[in-house]
């Protein structure tokens, strides 16, 4: 049993090891070993094997590689590109034109993909060439793509939601249901941001988009179907009782194959590329996750949870005060960290405190995923920003950073809304799960 002071020193050691550039898994492992050997017993260091097997043999987590595979197949099939073109046909009418397409295409792609980075890469690749010839402020273009990509984890399915569910024993189905409304509201807020920017700086979005003939536009509408079908399969199979969450991911993977074939992209080589990408991303996530579970195990035995709980109760924090403090904490952390380290590094410590304060775990899952998404677009460490810059191959990363500012503010507004109206996240799970 250790106190809050020792826990704080431990957290400091973890952060120091991370900043020294050790692998995230190593840093967490060393912290755990240190705690176990000082305060507990060598037998608990030896139980690493048992605990690794226990945490990795998990059917719910299997949905992580399945969703990654699904995203890879869809991206490589070219269906995203076609989706973008078709959406542009219709959204061009709005003030801000093609910028809205960036958001909408990302939102729809998010609905079939669990990864923000894949969303950013795809939309940037499709969209950026077309913006070269148009009169939009470039920063706003880049910002809108980054913002759209950050919907990837929030709109279900999302890997961050699965990881949170697995770490806290929260139903992933309920988390999905909870994230739907915030995901839609976030999309609307992004679009409103574009319109607002248009009003404030009319010369930033001067472009009037030409419209193709209606017949052409209608014909292209069919390209919206594949992602929608996949989304319908995932959500439909879960909420109709045909399949569990993991099974639905498997179903969607298999359904994506004929789509790739239809677009003439299905081949063994293409599948192997998909497998390699899936293996890499899965290994990266699972090594961190498995060691995080081990760290969690040691922290539990050290009694960090009750110590923190007592500390928080001791300082008399209200649930609202706690959430506001956590918001600031995560915004700061998000500057340096990516989604996964941020999630697995903090959930074991924060979640028990949340439970002790009587905060709804499903709501908190949506909250923390929103925080993770903010971290993706808060410079200087933000994967999506660099992906966009890599696609762009010109200008400076600073322009990308600038472009995200209005959308970053929109996400802060979103956070405030989620805190002020928690029903946004709790209403749908209650409706579907009684």
């Amino acid at each position: 049993m250790i106190g809050v002071g020792e826990a704080a020193i431990g957290f400091g050691i973890l952060v120091a090891l991370l900043f020294l550039g050790l692998h995230v898994a190593t840093a967490m492992f060393l912290t755990a070993v240190l705690g176990a050997s000082i305060y507990l017993s060598p037998a608990l260091v030896d139980s690493l094997g048992t605990q690794l097997w226990a945490s990795m043999e998990d059917y719910v987590l299997l949905s992580i590689p399945l969703y990654i595979l699904l995203g890879e197949i869809l991206v490589r099939s070219g269906s995203t590109d076609r989706l973008y073109r078709s959406l542009a046909d219709w959204l061009n009418i709005l003030p801000g034109g093609l910028l809205h397409t960036n958001i909408a295409a990302s939102a729809i792609f998010s609905a079939v993909s669990g990864s923000s980075v894949a969303t950013a890469a795809t939309v940037a690749t499709v969209a950026l060439p077309s913006f070269r010839t148009r009169k939009y402020d470039e920063r706003l273009v880049l910002g809108s793509i980054a913002a759209g990509a950050s919907l990837g984890n929030l709109i279900p399915p999302g890997i961050a939601l699965i990881v949170y569910g697995a770490m806290t024993n929260t139903s992933v189905g309920q988390l999905y249901a909870a994230a739907v409304v915030p995901g839609i509201v976030m999309t609307v807020l992004f679009m409103a941001t574009i319109i607002l920017m248009g009003l404030l700086k009319p010369d930033w979005i001067r472009q009037q988009e030409a419209q193709d003939r209606l017949a052409v536009r209608l014909r292209r509408l069919v390209d919206i179907l594949p992602p929608l079908v996949i989304f319908a399969i995932i959500m439909g199979s879960i909420y109709s009782g045909w399949a569990t969450v993991t099974e639905s991911a498997a179903l969607a993977c298999v359904a994506a194959l004929p789509i790739a074939a239809l677009y003439g992209r299905l081949s063994i080589a293409m599948l192997h590329d998909c497998f390699i990408a899936t293996a890499t991303l899965t290994a990266m996530s699972l090594l961190i996750l498995a060691v995080a579970f081990y760290l969690n195990f040691v922290l539990g035995l050290l009694g960090v949870t009750p110590a923190l709980g007592a500390f928080v109760t001791g300082i008399g924090a209200t649930p609202l005060g706690l959430i506001l403090a956590l918001t600031v904490f995560y915004l700061l952390l998000g500057i340096f960290f990516e989604t996964l380290p941020m999630l697995v590094g903090t959930v074991p410590v924060v979640f028990p405190v949340i439970m002790a304060a009587g905060i709804d775990p499903v709501w908190f899952g949506v909250f923390i995923v929103l925080m993770c998404e903010i971290s993706l677009i808060s410079p200087p460490v933000g994967m999506t920003l660099y992906v966009i810059q890599a696609v762009r191959k010109e200008g400076t990363i600073a322009q990308v950073f600038e472009g995200t500012i209005p959308f970053f503010l929109a996400m802060v507004v979103m956070t405030a809304l989620l805190i002020a109206f928690p029903q946004m996240a709790t209403w749908l799970p209650k409706l579907t799960y009684g």
Partner: protein, 324 residues
């Protein structure tokens, strides 16, 4: 000087059992007159898998563990024999079976895992909870039933039902959306998990008692003097009695609340709790002899040649069964 005692408790969702355990460890230093420094954590809160309990005791990672006997049968199939599906269909019979098997159980535990039995107790009778009118095992024919052990699958199949494997957390949504028709669990778990919202009929035929245990590693045991050991034994016996009583009481209460009876003081549901027809007893007996016992014998004798013979002498004799 303080004697450390690292204890792992039950699943935290089983709030009542956790409460009992926590209180027990809280008063243990006083009850035994020892300066014990007990650290107590529910197993799911530290990410310990129920099936690994015997390994954690053997390695010395933990001193005392709450053990789900059905789960650790992975490493020792004989342990499943205490509470084989269908063998004891009510709490009294189960208690007889446990008493008859306790010594052989403990011996095997000491030999193979270097740990000892401190307490053996039931989680509560396991019934069929269905979202269609099931009033007898005969009604199970053609229905999808969630099963999670080999002998449960054998029994369910024998009654013509379709066994489906699901994680426990998936059972509620699956019952709700008709992915399965019935789940088998204790009334306490069903009530705590709000299954009453998604089921309509309960068939209170107990196919198992959900036997649990509290085991201590011999390494920890040897830290104590014989007098201290005697005091520990007595304290755990008391815990055992308390948990048996609790299983009886909570079972009755949960059933009453699932049925929405007036004597329920907490949340009420409107499930139909049928009376088990007398013919079902014979049907279960027949199923046990023809499928459950052979399934058990095959998996158990593979690891331990004497398994079936020892079972026949102990649990079998107490319950009137003989594995051929």
């Amino acid at each position: 000087q303080q004697i450390p005692l690292r204890a792992v408790g039950h699943f935290s969702q089983n709030t009542k059992q956790i409460e009992i355990e926590r209180a027990f460890y809280g008063r243990l230093p006083q009850a035994t007159g020892m300066n014990l420094a007990v650290s107590f954590n529910p197993m799911d809160q530290i990410g310990v898998q129920a099936a690994d309990a015997l390994r954690h005791l053997r390695s010395g990672a933990f001193d005392v563990m709450a053990v789900l006997v059905g789960q650790v049968a992975r490493d020792e199939p004989f342990f499943d024999g205490l509470d084989l599906i269908g063998v004891s269909t009510n709490v009294e019979d189960l208690q007889k079976a446990v008493e008859a098997g306790r010594e052989a159980f403990d011996k095997r535990l000491q030999e193979r895992f270097n740990a000892r039995v401190m307490a053996l107790w039931p989680f509560g009778p396991q019934y069929f909870f269905c979202n269609s009118p099931v009033r007898s095992v005969a009604d199970l024919r053609g229905l999808k039933v969630r099963s999670y052990t080999p002998s449960m699958t054998a029994l369910v199949q024998h009654f013509g039902a379709i066994p489906v494997t699901l994680q426990f957390s998936e059972v509620y949504p699956s019952l709700q959306r008709g992915l399965v028709t019935c789940g088998i669990t204790s009334a306490v778990s069903a009530y705590a998990g709000n299954w009453g919202e998604v089921t309509t009929h309960v068939l209170p035929l107990s196919v198992a008692g959900g036997i649990q245990g509290h085991f201590m590693s011999n390494a920890a045991w040897r830290r104590f003097t014989p007098e201290q050991q005697a005091k520990l034994t007595a304290a755990f016996r008391e815990l055992e009695t308390e948990l048996w009583t609790f299983a009886r009481v909570s079972d009755a209460q949960s059933l009453a609340c699932l049925a929405g009876k007036p004597d329920c003081t907490e949340r009420k549901f409107t499930n139909t709790v049928s009376a088990v027809p007398p013919e079902d007893d014979a049907r279960v007996r027949e199923a046990v002899s023809s499928v459950v016992l052979p399934t058990f014998r095959d998996s158990c004798n593979r690891v331990w040649a004497d398994c079936a013979a020892v079972w026949n002498r102990t649990v079998g004799a107490a319950r009137g069964y003989t594995i051929p």
